[in-house]
């Protein structure tokens, strides 16, 4: 009997067949008794039975379930409380009931996703505002250097930061990258930036600054989070450049006389990984001749991929620097390196923040106007 359960048409057909058999049986009975014309009251009874059965069948199989479904659909449309429709029917109403149940489930999920999306978007706005507030809007002058520093956030906040801090004749330049994304990364970025500014007033060396930043930071952040960072320290009186690394990407130094780019490991250990990094952080010197260029970057540059899935990588960055470091002004150098990078990445979506600092040692003070830090 399943075949008749599946569609309303078949149910109606079954009812008509049954009624036909009953009606035929009654007419046949009178015919067998020799009566060729049915009495009027018999015709009325047959019509009455037909109407009653048809009416009942229509009500039970069509009108009632239709009303039930419409009641729940109206509730959804008006925002009222609605219920799931429970049915064992497998005909058109059964299918429509199951469709309704699936549709409201999807609707619930979409509402949830929209709500979550709004919350995350709000959180993202806060983090982006934090990042914007920390990053310098323009590059201050660094004695005896031409400097350019630019950053471009990814669609999701990635944790890159950099800054320039001066304490008398000491100039500190740092670039850093927090693990993770979102508000926690933004807060760590803010904490580190504030701590660096505070300790730069108290300590003379990048190493001491970072040791103390780590000491305060480590107990206050989750064990899954850390910040890689490298800090240059330029003594404008002694004309001495050093750097201290905290687990960050390499420090690249382009040697103008040879046309080659050195790759120097920044060393150390990321901030927030150990309680005490005193015996791990080391200050390393960089000797410079006029024209030599120091390049700092975040992993968003080297880990950027093209459509073939290849990473830009340190070797391509090194090549771009060697090719363009003698290009002209520091702006020209940056534009050419950025152009090589963009050509490689093609139209691929940027997944991480990218930050690049290029500092060319000129040996003379150049009165350079402040330039924007937006990539």
């Amino acid at each position: 009997m399943d075949i008749f359960k599946k569609t309303l048409f078949r149910k109606a057909f079954l009812v008509l067949v049954v009624l036909g058999i009953i009606g035929g049986g009654i007419v046949g009975g009178f015919y067998l008794k020799g009566k060729t014309v049915l009495p009027f009251w018999v015709i009325l009874i047959i019509i009455g039975v037909y109407l009653a059965v048809s009416g009942f069948t229509f009500f039970y199989f069509v009108s009632r379930p239709f009303s039930l479904i419409m009641k729940e659909v109206k509730a959804v449309l008006t925002g009222d409380k609605y219920n799931k429709i429970y049915t064992k029917r497998i005909d058109e109403f059964g299918i429509f009931s199951h469709f309704f149940n699936e549709a409201v489930l999807s609707l619930e999920q979409v509402k949830k996703d929209i709500k979550e999306g709004k919350r995350m978007s709000s959180e993202l706005d806060i983090v982006q505002e934090i990042q914007r507030s920390i990053l310098p809007k323009a590059i201050p002058s660094l004695p005896k250097f031409d400097v350019i520093a630019k950053t471009r956030p990814a669609t999701e906040v990635g944790g890159d930061s950099f800054d320039f801090i001066q304490n008398n004749n000491k100039h500190f330049v740092y670039i850093g990258d927090v693990t993770g994304h979102g508000a926690p990364a933004g807060v760590i970025m803010l904490m580190v930036n504030a701590l660096i500014h505070v300790f730069a007033e108290k300590f003379d060396t990048a190493r001491e600054i970072l040791i103390n930043v780590n000491r305060i930071l480590k107990p206050r952040i989750r064990t899954t989070m850390f910040m890689t960072l490298v800090m240059l320290e330029w003594d404008s009186v002694q004309q001495k450049l050093t750097y201290t690394g905290a687990g960050h990407e390499n420090v690249l130094v382009y040697r103008a006389s040879q046309g080659v780019c050195e790759i120097n490991q920044s060393g150390g250990i990321a901030l927030g990984m150990v309680d005490d990094n005193t015996h791990i952080l080391q200050e390393k010197p960089i000797s410079l001749a006029p024209g030599d260029t120091v390049v700092l970057y975040t992993d968003g540059v080297t880990e950027a991929k093209n459509s073939a899935g290849e990473q830009f990588g340190i070797e391509r960055l090194k090549t771009a620097i060697e090719k363009n470091a003698a290009a002209g002004t520091i702006d020209d150098i940056f534009k050419k390196i950025a152009s090589d990078y963009a050509t490689f990445c093609e139209e691929e979506v940027q997944e991480d923040d990218v930050t690049l600092i290029v500092a060319r040692y000129t040996g003379v003070d150049t009165q350079k106007g402040l330039t924007s830090t937006q990539w």
Binding site: D177, T179, G180, H181, R222, T223, T224, M225, F226, T228, A246, G247, H248, E249, Q265, S266, G267, G268, I269, A270, M273, V274, I280, D299, E303
Partner: protein
């Protein structure tokens, strides 16, 4: 999404350590999956040492490193020790870069990890 498979090897013939084998890649897309997969195991972990065998791990990024650090500290709180074995070159390069090797001992093989455990008090 990066794919990763975790295999816990107990009963390695010694009572005091187990090995977790990682195969695939670990980055922000699947670090939550790794965390949920190992959470209960780490909560109930009672042996003295844990070895993370990364021979099959082709890639790890900073979020994956962050997770390894959290495992290290979680075990440290219970006075357990941890080491990493068999990391591929590109993974070791990441560890060296961020300084993880200065925190968590890394060895080429699990045997060397076991020897190191046996030698330290």
């Amino acid at each position: 999404m990066a794919q990763i498979k975790i295999n816990i090897i107990s009963n390695v013939g010694a009572d005091n350590y187990e090995i977790i084998e990682f195969t695939g890649e670990m980055d922000k897309s699947n670090v939550a999956q790794v965390r949920s997969g190992l959470d209960e195991f780490l909560l109930n972990y009672a042996k003295d040492y844990l070895i993370l065998d990364l021979e099959g791990l082709a890639f790890i990024n900073s979020e994956g490193v962050g997770y390894l650090v959290s495992v290290y500290y979680r075990l440290l709180k219970k006075a357990k020790k941890m080491c990493i074995s068999g990391a591929q070159k590109q993974v070791t390069d990441v560890f060296n870069l961020v300084g993880l090797t200065k925190l968590i001992p890394c060895y080429p093989t699990t045997q060397e990890c076991v020897q190191a455990f046996q030698q330290t008090p």
